[in-house]
Amino acid sequence: MKTCLFIIIFLISCTWFSDIQEPSGFIQVKGSDTLVNAAQKLAEEFMKEYPYIFVAVTGGGSGVGIASLINKTTDIATASRRIKDKEKKIAKKWKVIPYEIIIGFDGVAIIVNKKNPIEKLTIRQLHDIYTGKIKNWNQLGGYDSSIVALSREVSSGTHIYFKERVVQLDKRENKEEFSSDVLLLSSNQAIVEEVASNPQAIGYVGMGYLSPRVKALAISDRGDYFLPTPQNVIEKKYPLSRPLFMYTNGEPRGIVKIFIDFVLNEKGQKQVEEVGFVPLEK
């Protein structure tokens, strides 16, 4: 009986002290599948430093994250795309003010075999390759051999980004699809392997997967060509780069602010970099 009482008193004092000394609470992070690994890693590191704040991370997709933010079922929404005007309007109706925080960048690199003489492509040419309008490398100034276009599986966030940016050229009314001849590979690594061994192949991977065994192409939207380097991604010169977002309802406050600050500081940015994204400043 005595020990029982003692334990209870001990536990109460624990929570009491922790209230004073350490911030505590529960943060829900929901959204982008592209970012789910990064968010999970950030949460784990964060909880090592603030053991009384529990961070729960769920995926579901950028749209799901933003919808949950509007429904007030999540504190932070992660997204690999900017919030749409339509979503902003709905948010206003529900008196939610989405506050945008850029937590890092991601560049999508276009890779070919080292034997391929092609060094650069325009977005338009990429579009024609992936929709099946260009089928031979000699149409682009390369050898006379057919093009083997590689893509990620439909479960990949990068697949959707690439589809919107390149296949549909960022036009919402454009309903074009990947040509059905495009190979769908299950991982970034598989794409790198095939490109490294096949001179006819072309593929896209996250920048983190670039290796000396393949050649990254310089890409141009309108005008100059840029290579997928962290510098070009930060300066927004590389056309296939995208910022990665977190959204909160209004300016972050309390423990949410502590978490966001952690994400943006050196330690958090190191985690962002480790999962293969470009940190804010390098």
Binding site: D33, G60, G61, V64, S145, S146, I147, V148, E153, V154, S155, S156, I160, K175, E177, S180, D181, V182, L183, L184, L185, S186, A190, E193, E194, S197, N198, Q200, A201
Partner: protein, 292 residues
């Protein structure tokens, strides 16, 4: 131990054995009902006719198109060629082990076949990506080695142990008197093997082939890694194609639980279940006949 206690012990044991038997059947039925339930949800909002006749699989488009034909044909192509490769090899090997090989060689061969069965499929897939794919590309001078044929070769390797061990059993269970009779009539060893033993073991061998098909059509990892996964209606085995299993494995992670795409994948699973069920049923039928 008193006889009474013995009897109680026996009845408890009997109960457990019975229960495990019934449980297995129950599991299969439950899995089937589960797949059926989710597929029915799918066919509530997507027409069965479209599902079976559309030639396109575009699950994340607006509106999505779920046509199973490319996937079904992909699976059939890969399986067909895998069987063409592994049946002659497997039966030849079984004949050699059962009838020709001296006993020390027999043991070595058998243990190697067991090792072959133990290779994880992801390892075979990796070999396919880095070595076999480029080789196939070079030999046939095709644009990419990520095609159905590469998958077929690897799947043939995976089905070989099944085919060899079951057909070897079938060959060995042919009564020795058959052979003696053949020899007595002046048949050579080859004639006895080819004209007498092989036909006598035929239903066991057919069962072995059926089980091999079941193994091949349900395999996921290898085909996902090496066949390129393009959802096209394949016109040749040397083109990239997408199988039923690879589709489920690679798309399941992304679907929203309770969404149309989610249920569509369950329908694909149902089709696969029905196919493997029929194949296994046929195999069982043949095995049963060979035992008689």
């Amino acid at each position: 131990m008193s006889p009474k206690l013995q009897r109680i012990k026996e009845s408890i044991l009997e109960f457990f054995i019975k229960a495990s038997g019934v449980l297995i059947i129950l599991f299969v039925i439950l899995i089937f009902l589960f797949l059926l339930k989710d597929s029915l949800f799918f066919f509530n909002s997507y027409s069965l006719k479209e599902f079976l006749t559309q030639g396109k699989w575009l699950p994340i488009s607006e509106p999505p198109i779920f046509g199973i034909i490319p996937l079904l044909l992909g699976s059939i192509y890969v399986t067909f060629f895998a069987i063409i490769i592994c049946v002659p090899l497997g039966i030849g090997c079984a004949m050699f082990i059962a009838e020709v090989a001296p006993s020390f060689l027999k043991n070595i061969l058998k243990s190697f076949i067991e090792i072959l069965a133990a290779i994880p499929s992801v390892v075979l897939g990796f070999i396919g990506i880095v070595w076999l794919g480029p080789l196939v590309k070079r030999i046939f001078s095709i644009p990419t080695g990520m095609c159905g044929f590469t998958g077929s070769i690897l799947l043939a390797f995976m089905a070989l142990p099944t085919i060899i061990s079951i057909s070897e059993d079938a060959l060995r269970s042919v009564p020795y008197t058959y052979k003696e009779a053949a020899f007595g009539l002046g048949a050579t060893r080859w004639q006895a093997l080819w004209r007498v033993v092989l036909p006598a073991a035929s239903s066991g061998i057919i069962a072995a082939i059926m089980l091999g098909i079941g193994r091949v059509i349900g395999e996921t990892m290898v085909v996902m890694m090496v066949t390129g996964n393009s959802p096209v209606i394949p016109s040749s085995i040397l083109e990239p194609l997408r199988t039923l299993t690879a589709t489920i494995a690679s798309e399941m992670g992304e679907t929203v639980r309770g969404g149309l795409h989610y249920f569509a994948l369950f329908s694909v699973g149902l089709i696969l279940f029905i196919i493997t069920f029929i194949i296994n049923f046929l195999a069982d039928l043949f095995l049963h006949r060979s035992k008689k």
